[in-house]
Symmetry: C2
Amino acid sequence: MGLGPDVKKRIVIIGMGFGGIRAARVLAGTGHDVVLVDRNNYHLFQPLLYQVATAGLEQESIAHSVRAMARHWPGTRFHLAEVSGIDLAAREVRTATGVIPYDYLIVGAGSVTNYFGMEPVERHAYDLKELTDAETLRNHILTSFERAVVEPDPARQRALMTFVIVGGGPTGVEFAGALIELVQFVLAKDYPELGTHTARVILVEATGRLLASMPEKQCTYTLKKLRSMSVEVLLNARVVDAGPERVMLHDGAVIPAHTLFWSAGVKAAPLASALAVSRAAGGRIPVAADLTLPSQPEVFVIGDMAYLEQDGAALPMTAPVAMQMGMYAGRAILALESGTPLPRFRYHDKGSMATIGRNAAVASAFGLNFRGYLAWLVWLLLHLYYLIGFRNRIVVMLNWVWYYWFHERQVRLITRRETKDRL
Amino acid sequence: MGLGPDVKKRIVIIGMGFGGIRAARVLAGTGHDVVLVDRNNYHLFQPLLYQVATAGLEQESIAHSVRAMARHWPGTRFHLAEVSGIDLAAREVRTATGVIPYDYLIVGAGSVTNYFGMEPVERHAYDLKELTDAETLRNHILTSFERAVVEPDPARQRALMTFVIVGGGPTGVEFAGALIELVQFVLAKDYPELGTHTARVILVEATGRLLASMPEKQCTYTLKKLRSMSVEVLLNARVVDAGPERVMLHDGAVIPAHTLFWSAGVKAAPLASALAVSRAAGGRIPVAADLTLPSQPEVFVIGDMAYLEQDGAALPMTAPVAMQMGMYAGRAILALESGTPLPRFRYHDKGSMATIGRNAAVASAFGLNFRGYLAWLVWLLLHLYYLIGFRNRIVVMLNWVWYYWFHERQVRLITRRETKDRL
């Protein structure tokens, strides 16, 4: 150590998500020149965005400065920029603030929300992919209640307190549970003049079950639990149109609602078009068994952008897949440099989990299915563990303890007076 | 108690600042109908805005939901609205969401930054009055360093790292100290590729001393301390013009700088024009000895908006004055209702203080002058004490301890990619 490799290579990593930072960790201190690129100066812990949106956490507590991490990663440097293009032939990454040549490239730019071409839905819906999305949604939810207080028309008042959530995956389930608890435990006390018991949280799922990737027992528990918390769950239902004050379902039913939240699909980030002409479902980039582009062995694609099948099914677009791919890509480059290529990438599924509400979560791991309090505790601990930044962990834990003891979510601030045009 | 007053009165309080919330506390539970009005749904602890702007605190930790407070104040209700006008004859407050009639009115809408008509300065300067101002300024400071990293021209690079602060009062002094520490302790490590030692923090003060309201020994200590921290202090100097990349002084000197921060003056909030035709310096409203409008004994004006002389000098526009005025106005209304009017308002000056940096502050109270470590400890404890919300206190204390031990300010996030047009 200290001498570094025989030939120092320039490795560029695009995207400081779950995959990118793992790749950076592996490559740091190996003597190579590692350039980290992201359009934000922080790593975002996306799985907790819904808690920022429901006033449970301050936005800063789920983000961590890339430079703060890079300090501890020798040989890395950070370049804040949006990537505008990739020249595979010239081996260059293009940004507004300069061109970055590379010997190896790791691309993990993640995914964006997929509205499947439904333009009115896209215009009126809220989603949770970026930090500002969470703040915007929190402001919108709280502003809706403030508007409801001064709304004389009871029908419009109820529509202001009606929230339609599309997509019964982990994000939809967790957001629905956190939102109904926000209304029942916190806002009911904040707005004594308002009949907050008439507020509606409606979860719309296109298939016949929630958390479809989990064993059926878990799905049934989740459905029962959410319904017992007064979430209206509509299965086998689809949202097909939306306006500022209403949401329309596939069967023509119209729900008067001022809030539409969309978590029914994601697709690869637009940067994918710079890497491949033919793409798989969701715009993802088909990669070889070692995560490289088939025609470009020096370019790795990781995380949500990568399309790879294993045991007959495509790997899911989740954080654990991205993390394992990131570590693999880093190791694969080191292995190539030392002349002993790695065996093919293989994803080790450690299980999945989702929290529904207080003392209630589902977790499936190692063939075991946990439900209720134990699953909820495991969920809390694992999320704290994977959160980056020790101070962030303390702040998040403090907020969770506070909420658990006092039924209080303190961050119910409307930090911007303007909201989306739908209000 | 429990029966309430003989005649229930409607009391409207405009502004949930330091004065407004004290008035609300006094009037809560007295049987009157108290309506709290603010355009934000939170009370903001303005004295710590500069720490949000210098990445030391998350913005949510210095704000506290009004409804969270009002829960504990029987007989009060909150109305989120910007006041568009006050009809003194009809005794009505007008907002976009309705008219609120009153029997008594307490107006504490605070102050806004005063650029003294210098339009180019106003267009290019940053200030700290609202929560978003602090986030905007933090984003701008961090973005300036990110731009400096990729700037090939050394002169422009240095201008990106040059910060001109106008006004040697507490805000200017505290911001200057916090900013130079951010650069020297934190950003120097974040940007090893940048010569951050060439960064400049320039404090421009129009008079011959800093913290002019304090005894001379304190001013001298502050000047010496700031200079020892490498802040360039220009006394008897004024900023007269500004552009996106430069600041011009009264003597024609031009400082190449991408950041201009203005804390050289405040004036009463625009709402003051709805209350009085003739106004005192800074647009403040001259009030009678009991804080009422001379022609309107049911209308109280408190805090920065009120102009009142005591012992031959105008009371300062500070939080302690606002707090005492708020409590007085609440008590004065109760006294009027019980037929025994209060004696005239009298401000009890408990002293003033400002923090300069680590282990360094000045405090003057009860004829005693503290400097250095002790003053700094007192400053910390008093600010924690006056901060609203127990959870906020814990989060703020956690950040302070973290910074003190690890020289780390964790909230160095650029949360919005767009900044003011000057970049």
